[in-house]
């Protein structure tokens, strides 16, 4: 099996262009060095792994541009350097720290191999926080995006003052998350909150309670506000997508006798799939990383009911001074988000083919 894989890899490399061979070799070396680093702490390997990826990128740019003009290459170098310093280096630094026990201050770090990652696997609170983030994401994917789509469809029609509505719907996303959190905390307040007051006016006093301190409602309240705060982004992207659909298609469908629902199902949805995928990926990434709103509304409480991965990373880093563990949590979280995004893209590709 392994021999077959090696043969496949050899054939792949054999048929590759010289440029692909160089990049492939460098990236393979980087992967190999990174793999070694998981089990052995060596400054040489860290530098090599970081250097290899930077070299691969540099070569990629060089190979593409050198044919056209050398000056073009030099225009790209600053951006490449910035990318290398601010993206690739931090990634390797986080990878390095995630294999150490470090308090964030001491000059001495202790290499602990993969034990931080094993610890995460056993950390019940971490997985509770992942579940909470998943719940917020689910609400955002359904409630937030349904609201965004409904409003985008409404604004796509020839209605009066549609530009005014566009501005109004985009106000929540531009508001500060801390301000939104503090305002909604007042609205949800158990004694003097606007929500309970309104329920009282409607004769629904029995429903009034402290929404954010009740474990049964705290997370849902946070998720709803997160959706309210975020639907404007989805609205704008979906509206832009809807406006790219040629009106002739709707007219043709109408001539063929299609009603509103059939037009929506057979014209709008198929053509909007790439936009839906984009909105869904952005929603997932944004919701899983929800943080400021939670800090300003509940601080992760009561108990662990509104804890999300980012609050846990912060707790490890600041509350417990476990920088290495926090970095491992960050990496694990990043890998999970990448997996979710790839799965989403795969599903959307299949949907498009269907």
């Amino acid at each position: 099996m392994i021999a077959e894989k090696i043969k496949q890899f050899y054939n792949l490399m054999h048929n590759a262009t010289p440029k692909q061979k160089v990049i492939g070799t460098v990236l393979f070396l980087a992967a190999l060095e990174t793999f070694f680093l998981l089990f052995h702490d060596s400054a040489v390997f860290w530098v090599l792994a970081y250097g290899s990826v930077t070299l691969a990128l540099l070569f990629l740019v060089l190979a593409n541009l050198i044919k056209k003009s050398l000056s073009a290459f030099f225009f790209v170098v600053p951006a490449l350097l910035i990318f290398s310093i601010f993206y690739i280096y931090p990634f390797f630094k986080v990878l390095q720290l995630s294999h150490h026990a470090w308090d964030g201050i001491s000059p001495k770090m202790t290499f602990v191999g993969l034990s931080n990652f094993f610890e995460i696997m056993k950390d019940r609170i971490w997985w509770v926080s992942m579940g909470n983030a998943g719940y917020i994401t689910l609400i955002a994917l359904t409630f937030q995006n349904a609201l965004a789509l409904a409003l985008a469809l409404a604004c796509d029609r020839q209605i009066r003052a549609k530009n005014f509505y566009r501005v109004i719907f985009f106000i929540p996303p531009v508001l500060s998350e801390v301000v939104v959190g503090l305002i909604w905390r007042w609205i949800y307040d158990g004694d003097y909150g606007f929500l309970n007051y309104t329920l009282g006016l409607l004769g629904l006093q029995h429903l009034a309670h402290n929404w954010l301190s009740d474990p049964n409602t705290a997370l849902t309240c946070v998720a709803i506000i997160h959706s309210w705060k975020g639907f404007g982004w989805g609205f704008m992207i979906l509206l832009a997508g809807l406006q790219t659909i040629p009106k002739e298609l709707y007219e043709a469908a109408k001539v063929d006798g299609a009603n509103v629902w059939q037009s929506f199902k057979n014209v709008t949805i198929p053509l909007m799939i790439p936009v839906f995928v984009l909105v869904m990926i952005l929603t997932i990434l944004g919701s899983m990383q929800a943080f400021v709103l939670i800090l300003s509304m509940t601080g992760g409480g009561p108990g662990y009911h509104t804890e999300v991965p980012v609050t846990r990373i912060l707790a490890s880093m600041q509350g417990s001074s476990m920088f290495g563990y926090a970095c491992a949590q960050g990496l694990t979280f990043g890998v999970i988000l990448m997996m979710v995004s790839f799965a989403q893209m795969g599903i959307s590709r299949k949907l498009k083919q269907a």
């Binding site: 402290n210 009561p302 108990g303 001074s321």
Partner: protein, 443 residues
């Protein structure tokens, strides 16, 4: 000819001006005798104390006028953001000359071991310990590492307290009167506290409010009760792993929170309330009791200057033991050991903690001064707070400290008890298990 004469006149006038300024400068000699050595130097101080910004700027002006040294107070708030900034600066070796540090004793120790903090013992002991003797012992203790401390830090004093604080309970005298209680007689023990809360509840007033969304405040009151119920030795034995959290005394500590929740003695939404909201709640006379630190005097004054309230120790559960409260140094300033103006920084801190400056700070910021010679200018309510200084303790002066994961589970667990999700016994078992696991990891 005219040109040469012009050059001669210009040279002569420049020379005269130079001579004149030299004579003028030397005429100012005696008062500015020390200036040539220090003038032009700059001390940068980082802090997070928003309420003291104006007072600090005023003191900086006074110090510059006196010594010629410019002191720049740079404010970074809120405290979380400040804490991150200080850590990042430490990692980049870019700390200012003087800085405050937020965190636990182990964080303090890490900064010292990394060479970021100067040992001030020598300066404190100079002239027969004149500086040290000026400051409250308990405030200094927070900044002190004794011989054989568990962190492996060289023994010494590493920080200068600029104020002292303690965390007690305050009660609203007007609401007491309204509920038919004697405002001059706050509850002394648990039974009285429960009875008073019941009367207040009947009068339509909420009982106790505190920022228990910030879990350290739960930790604070819970450890007050623990010290009172079982005494410090047993608390330390628990931290060392010699007494399990399933011990009946610990269950009793957790049960107090359950009792408060069950009897409706707590303000609504207390488990997610930040302290600022709790302070607003008490200042607006919505709750009769608040668990808060002495800094609240300034905060309440800003929110409701006519608020009539008194200070009391948290109610005793075990009448035989004293009621310990958290306190000591309120805010401390540390000197960067790598600072180019280290000596000047130490001299500035000596000046800042001298009686005159401390009296000014206390008066303008309504905080308890760290200088024991300051008296007279403290507001009455602050003086009441100062009476609690005899009962002060703090995790930073304990011989042992609990593991971070256990502290978090302890505090969050109490939140869960308050919302009725866990029982005191259940939390005790959970903590005992976690403690055993964490101790195994330490080995």
């Amino acid at each position: 000819m005219m040109n040469r004469l012009g050059i001669f006149k210009k040279t002569l006038s420049s020379l005269s001006l130079f001579l004149l300024s030299t004579v003028f400068m030397s005429g100012c000699g005696t008062q500015g005798a020390q200036r040539p050595q220090t003038a032009g130097k700059k001390i940068v101080v980082w802090h997070w104390m928003t309420d003291r910004e104006e007072a600090f700027q005023e003191l900086a002006k006074r110090y510059e006028a006196k010594t010629g040294i410019k002191v720049v107070f740079e404010l970074y708030a809120p405290s979380d953001a400040y804490s991150q900034k200080v850590r990042a600066a430490a990692q980049a070796r870019a700390l200012p000359d003087i800085f405050g540090l937020l965190g636990e004793k182990r964080d303090f120790a890490a900064f010292i071991k990394a060479g970021h903090v100067a040992n001030l013992t020598g300066a404190m002991e100079e002239q027969g310990g004149a500086w040290k003797n000026l400051l409250y012992e308990k405030a200094l203790a927070v900044n002190e590492f004794r011989t054989d401390n568990p962190y492996g830090v060289e023994a010494g004093i590493y920080g200068v307290p600029i104020d002292v604080m303690n965390i007690q309970m305050v009660y609203n005298k007007k609401l007491f009167q309204k509920a038919g209680l004697d405002p001059a007689r706050p509850p002394k023990d648990w039974a009285e506290f429960v009875a008073d809360c019941q009367k207040l509840k009947e009068a339509g007033t909420q009982g106790l409010v505190s920022g228990w969304g910030e879990i350290w405040m739960i930790d604070c009151l819970a450890s007050n009760f623990a010290f009172n119920i079982m005494g410090p030795d047993k608390v330390f034995a628990t931290i060392r792993g010699e007494v399990p959290y399933t011990d009946p005394d610990w269950v009793k500590v957790f049960s107090l929170f359950k009792e408060m929740a069950d009897r409706g003695m707590l303000a609504s939404g207390i488990v997610t309330m930040v302290n600022k909201t709790a302070e607003q709640n008490f200042a607006n006379e919505r709750s009769a009791f608040a668990f808060n630190g002495s800094w609240c005097v300034n905060v309440y004054h800003g929110m409701n200057p006519s608020l009539d309230y008194g200070v009391m120790l948290p109610p005793k559960v075990n009448l035989k033991n004293p009621m310990y409260i958290w306190g000591g140094a309120g805010s401390s300033l540390l000197v960067n050991d790598r600072s180019a103006v280290k000596e000047e920084a130490v001299t500035f801190l000596k000046w800042l903690t001298a009686t005159e400056q401390q009296a000014y700070l206390s008066e303008t910021t309504r905080n308890l001064p760290s200088n024991r010679k300051v008296s007279g200018s403290i507001p009455e309510i602050l003086a009441d707070f100062s009476k609690g200084m005899d009962n002060v303790t703090h995790p930073n002066i304990w011989p042992v400290n609990e593991l971070p994961k256990v502290i978090e589970r302890f505090d969050k667990g109490i939140q869960s008890i308050i919302i009725g999700e866990k029982t005191p016994e259940g939390l005790a078992e959970e903590l005992a298990k976690l403690k055993a696991e964490e101790m195994a990891k330490q080995k």
